[in-house]
Amino acid sequence: MKTSKPICITILFLFFSVNLFCQTKGILHYKLKVVDEIDKIETHQNHIIYFHNNKSIQFTQNGNVKESTVYSGENNIQKTIVVSDNNRKSFVYKNFDKKELKLADFIGLKKYLIYDTLANFKWVITNEKQKILKYKCTKATASFRGREYIAWFTEDIAIQNGPWKFCGLPGLIIKIHDKDKFYEFELDAIDLKTNFDDSIVNVPDAYSNDQPIDHQTFINTFNMKVSNIDAINRSSIKMTKIGSGSIISRSFDKLPSKIEKF
């Protein structure tokens, strides 16, 4: 009986800890830096994650990119065109109870509803520590679909989650980037006292009529589009006569690369 008392206390403590974790509700703000693999131009995005009762949903926040024309180099013009959102926003939805991961990703302006698994990452937790923001973080690494990732997580915040598909570490991911730093998420703010409508933590209604496809089908579709564009680019050279001169024009269209390579 003497030995069973501490065990009971431990079980009770664990029960309340898990219950406390389940009740956690809040908002995480991450900044994402994307570096174009070809022209090395940086793009910055703000992401917001609503989490409640072992479920979370991440959205890209409204853009601050403006239409612009920049002259880079003597004869090079860089233009930016912004296309308005059609209310089918990209999102990443995780349901840890049902072990469910659903997301909307795009090819051009078309959005696809995709299902995937939460058990994607085989993390290797190292002994390396670092203080990021005000949190004591531990380094972990994982290889995932063509990229090597370095994550810094903290056990100070008992939320086993992170941005995009990342999760499965014993604490919140504060910072994560691939080895080449083409993609880098960093926690910007955390709000545990917030109040939002719980129904937001679900697959958005705009996708209720979509038939979800698996990750492999999405990546196959993406790769096929890339091949089509490459073929068009290769056959795009044309010559036009102008008086006694001539113009040779070429096309180099490109889809943005995805975080996952395959």
């Binding site: 703000n46 853009g63 003597e74 013009i77 078309k110 102008i242 008086g243 070429r250 180099f252 269209d253």
Partner: protein, 123 residues
Amino acid sequence: MKKFLTFALLCFVGSLTFANDHIQKSTKQLNLKQYSDHQIYYDKFFEDEFLVTSIDLQEYTCTAVTTIKIYQNNEVVHTITRSATLSMPYPFAVCETAQAFAQQEAQDAVADWLAAQQTITPE
């Protein structure tokens, strides 16, 4: 013998003069043809207002590139690049024309791309 030598010398000088005349005439015809080509070009672009004062046979080349990135929600969804290399035998407006061409091609390609996207209906 003396008469024969005089006749031969006259023939030689005569042939040289003829050859020289012929070369000059050919060059003149060639230049006139080139001038004519240039005039057509300038007429097309500057509505007869441009006066050709000299003919330069050097070829001038300029490459211009226009890149248009299309964003939605701060995410790049497509990148369109058009390059134009203009070569012509005179320098005037070579880069300006190449730039205008590359820009127009890129803008047309964006319009085509957006039109193609609009035909896609959400699943």
